[in-house]
């Protein structure tokens, strides 16, 4: 029996399906049938050319030891925030803050599911479905069908504090599927923070609808548990004059694939997506894949993709990024940058930075570079008395800076830089 069929069978058996109200049950059933039709990804799929989907779709998740953080405060600890905690994908009421706030409707997906009518009906699985053309993303469909929980958030004003999703990992065999839906009404503002390893294997879908003039800022840190695996999808719809910004930092992780599908549908909107990844394959595998698809379907919009990877000891990096400019999306300004720094000869990087453009009054470009550290810069630092390991790390941080600059909040950006520095320092010994 193929995995797809197995999953389909699991879905149909009533107890495998999380309890849900009619609106959610419909969405799940729809996803289940879509999944059955498209099947799961295989190694032969062009879209999975450089990342093997096998361990992401196997019936049982591979074990991932829980990392001892040795008392280190998790990221965002100092930030005044509304905390929602999931432990191995299970909501933790005692660790979470009260789910309330001014200008904010927030509840668990599991709670929303119990209601017969819910605003999230118009979004749950809807943006995900839109994101299935021109390429299938079956794992996201699977998530829509199978997610056990998540949060649904509706924002009507400018929030005074960020919403922070904290994903703790305690069970070495956990397999978590979370699905969150976020709606920013006209002119609303939200900063969403996500951090933590979540589970041994984590499938996450985030559907974000950014209405006119709204601003969504997203900063995500994927936990450093070595053998954890994550497959995440962000599906965003960005309306006129709205801003969407998302940044992800990744250190460690056996396999991470972050897919981001952004649809710019209103004029003068801005969408930025950035990522910084640091991988050392010395003792644990590291494979990191950023797969991004930005569609411009409106006039005078700006999009940026900035992805930086630093890889060593057999660490592998993948970037697949596309800017699609539809006919009539005139005055588009699209830029895509994917760069990798290979610190030794075993590291590898594979990239497919694509442009597909059907409007003429556009400025679109991409740049991709791969190579070793700049010897001249290294020499310059050394000639000023900086020892090679420190000089190297300095240059690594400088290399990552472009991506980190995409974080709107300066304190958070500084904090992220600090964590990266610490990661490098630990490896310097």
């Amino acid at each position: 029996m193929s995995t797809a069929v197995k999953m389909q069978a699991a879905l149909i058996s009533a107890d495998a399906r999380p309890a849900s109200g009619a609106w959610l049950a419909d969405a799940r059933a729809d996803a289940a049938s879509r999944l059955a039709a498209m099947g799961l990804p295989t190694r032969r799929d062009e879209y999975w050319k450089w990342t093997r989907p096998d361990s992401l779709i196997s019936a049982v998740a591979d074990t991932a030891e829980v990392l001892d953080y040795e008392g280190e405060e998790p990221l965002f600890s100092d930030v005044d925030r509304l905390k929602v905690v999931f432990v191995d994908g299970v909501f933790s009421a005692e660790e979470s803050d009260a789910l309330e706030g001014e200008g904010l409707e927030i509840e668990r997906l599991a709670d929303a599911a119990a209601k017969d009518i819910h605003w999230a009906k118009d979004l749950y699985g809807v943006l995900e479905t839109r994101g299935q053309t021109p390429v299938n993303r079956p794992i996201a469909v699977h998530n829509t069908a199978m997610a056990t929980d998540g949060v649904v958030i509706r924002v009507t004003g400018a929030l005074s504090r960020p919403v922070s999703l904290v994903y703790r990992h305690e069970d070495a065999n956990s397999d978590a599927i979370l699905h969150s839906v976020i709606r920013l009404e006209d002119g609303a503002e939200l900063t969403l923070l996500e951090n933590g390893p979540a589970a041994a294997r984590f499938s996450s879908v985030l559907e974000v609808d950014v209405a006119k003039g709204a601003a969504f800022h997203h900063v995500r840190a994927q936990g450093r548990d070595h053998d954890r695996q994550a497959i995440t999808h962000v599906f965003a719809r960005v309306d006129a004059e709205a801003t969407f910004k998302s940044f992800t930092v990744t250190v460690n992780g056996k396999l991470t694939r972050n897919e981001c599908v952004i649809d710019i549908v209103g004029d003068n909107a801005v969408a930025h997506i950035a990522g910084a990844a640091l991988g050392d394959g010395a003792e644990h595998e590291f494979h990191h894949d950023d797969t991004v698809f930005i569609t411009h379907d409106a006039v005078a919009c700006e999009s940026r993709q900035v992805f930086k990877k630093v890889l060593k000891n057999g660490a592998k990096g993948v970037f697949q990024g596309k800017i699609l400019v539809k006919p009539d999306a005139q005055k588009t300004d699209g830029y895509q940058k994917s760069q990798s720094l290979l610190l030794d000869d075993d590291a590898s990087f594979q990239a497919k930075p694509e442009l597909e453009i059907y409007a003429d009054d556009v400025i679109c470009s991409h740049g991709s570079t791969t190579g070793a550290i700049d010897e001249e810069a290294l020499f310059y630092l050394r000639s000023r008395g900086v020892p090679t390991p420190i000089a190297t790390d300095l240059l690594v941080l400088a290399f990552l800076a472009d991506a980190i600059e995409e974080i709107e909040d300066e304190d958070i950006a500084a904090d992220v830089t600090g964590r990266l520095d610490a990661w490098l320092a630990r490896r310097r010994g």
């Binding site: 290979l342 590291a347 990239a351 694509e354 597909e356 009054d361 556009v362 400025i363």
Partner: protein, 507 residues
């Protein structure tokens, strides 16, 4: 010999006179047809046709077997669909796979024997076959002095090579330049050794088909430490209707040799699409260098997308020796559909590959073209400069691969892909694949897409140029780096082609 008995002559050629067609041809200069009696093999492809082609060329048994094996493989393959191309399904059984002028049945022994219509055709195309060049087999005439710079030409008319010039002079230098059908007979040891060694029989759908049914093409061998005394060129002309052209070119540059090779193509203007599937294999040994330049100007179809050549070409150079070097330059202005990725296998240490391309698509033309740079050896270098220009309702895609293998230490690639859009109904796309598996190598890729700069347009027009002139000028500037990579004569022709190809694209 069932196939031979089935050979039939196609009755009645097109009614229009050459002049009439020419006047209808508009922008496409080479849209006329030569009225010449042809003989055709029956339509379609099957083992009998494969045998017939082999038989027509008087091939030895091993060659026939090679072809049949390819055909058997082809039958098992599916036509690829990954390119950003959209065309009606090709009925491979509704094509003629062999067509040759009747007059070529017997190889001409002297210039007087060559059908004057053929000579006229090449003269009209601007190929100086008659004055400067002496056809193969014309005894003693080869050493006639040529005016200006010498270019040896192998002219392929539909399925057959009609003549190769300067053979004797080349022979003196040890260079072999002849049709591939001749090479199969005269130099079987070379052909056996190299044919299919760069583009294996089962490489891809079109290459496999070509391996089964190629009817002719050119063969070049440059001996060690020899600089080919003149430029070599092949001129391809599709004349017959409903006929696929499948030519095969094999170039071997032995140690320390050098050759510059030019390729030109045209076809008459017709309502129905025609198929062209060529294979070019280049073997480059130690310290040798090959420059391969193409001006592809097959009939692109009319402004409504009717007719035109479907061009599926596999070109690959294998830089086997250390310090070997290849440079592909292409100007792709013709064809309704282009599917073409001249590639470089950089096997030898310090070998170098370069790819310079201009692809212009107008009206309903579609091009999916680019290159592969496969770095296997240490200290290898590659450079890609691609300029895509899209106008009308055309789609233009750059597709490329740069691969740095673990052993390709200290290698370099630089890629620059620029696209220019003229009008809001066309598309320009970039699909690069980059694979880097060692850290001493450096890969840089840059791509831009934009429309013709308005300030530049205004500046030109203020100086009195009309929009079309201004666009042609600016586009030529945009493509300069590639035009400069072409041999002089080709560069001039290419520059004019740029302007012609873009006619009707503005306003």
């Amino acid at each position: 010999m069932a196939g031979v008995d089935e050979l039939i002559a196609k009755e009645g050629v097109e009614e229009e006179t050459v002049e009439a067609v020419k006047s209808l041809a508009g922008a496409y200069k080479y849209g006329w047809e030569t009225e010449i009696e042809m003989e055709y093999a029956p339509k379609g492809v099957n083992p009998d046709i494969v045998r017939l082609i082999s038989d027509k060329n008087d091939e030895p048994e091993w060659m026939t077997e090679w072809r049949l094996e390819a055909f058997a493989r082809w039958e098992k393959l599916d036509e690829p669909s990954w390119a950003l191309l959209n065309y009606p399904e090709i009925d491979f059984q509704d094509q003629y796979y062999y067509a040759r002028p009747k007059s070529m049945e017997e190889k001409p022994k002297s210039l007087d024997d060559v059908d004057p219509k053929l000579l006229e055709t090449y003269k009209k195309l601007g190929i100086p076959l008659k004055e400067q060049m002496i056809l193969a087999g014309v005894d003693g005439a080869e050493d006639m002095p040529a005016e200006g710079r010498k270019v040896a030409v192998d002219a392929v008319f539909d399925s057959v090579s009609v003549g190769t010039t300067f053979q004797a002079e080349l022979k003196k230098a040890g260079v072999i330049f002849c049709s591939i059908s001749e090479a199969i007979k005269e130099h079987p040891e070379l052909v056996k050794k190299y044919l299919g060694s760069v583009v294996p029989v089962s490489d891809n759908y079109y290459a496999t088909l070509n391996s089964a049914v190629f009817s002719d093409g050119s063969f070049v061998y440059i001996p060690p430490n020899t600089r080919c005394p003149m430029e070599l060129s092949t001129y391809f002309r599709i004349n017959a209707e409903n006929t696929g052209q499948f030519e095969r070119t094999l170039i071997i540059a032995d140690k320390g040799s050098y050759v510059s090779y030019l390729e030109g193509c045209t076809a008459p203007q017709r309502d129905t699409a025609q198929l062209h599937a060529a294979v070019v294999e280049i073997i480059i040994e130690e310290d040798a260098e090959v420059k391969y330049s193409t001006v592809q100007n097959w009939y692109p179809g009319d402004e409504n997308g009717k007719g035109g050549i479907y061009n599926f070409v596999t070109k690959r150079a294998d830089c086997r020796g250390d310090r070997s070097k290849v440079m592909w330059t292409q100007v792709e202005t013709g064809s309704a559909v282009t599917w073409k990725y001249p590639s470089c296998i950089l096997r030898g240490a310090e070998s170098q590959g370069e790819f310079y391309s201009i692809a212009i698509t107008n009206n309903y033309q579609q091009a999916d073209t680019g290159t592969k740079m496969v770095h296997l050896g240490r200290d290898t270098k590659s450079r890609i400069v691609s300029k895509g220009i899209s106008a009308g309702k055309a789609q233009n895609t750059y597709r490329g691969l740069v691969s740095m293998h673990p052993k390709a230490k200290n290698s370099r690639n630089y890629t620059q892909c620029d696209s220019l859009l003229i009008g809001d109904k066309c598309g320009a796309h970039t699909v690069p694949y980059i694979e880097v598996k060692n850290n001493s190598s450096r890969v840089e890729h840059e791509a831009t897409t934009s429309k013709v700069d308005e300030e530049q347009m205004f500046y030109c027009r203020q100086r009195g140029m009309d929009e079309e002139e201004a666009v042609a000028l600016i586009v030529n500037g945009f493509a300069k780096e590639v035009l400069q990579a072409l041999p002089m004569e080709f560069a001039m022709e290419a520059q004019q082609l740029v302007a012609i190809s873009l006619e009707g694209s503005v306003g």
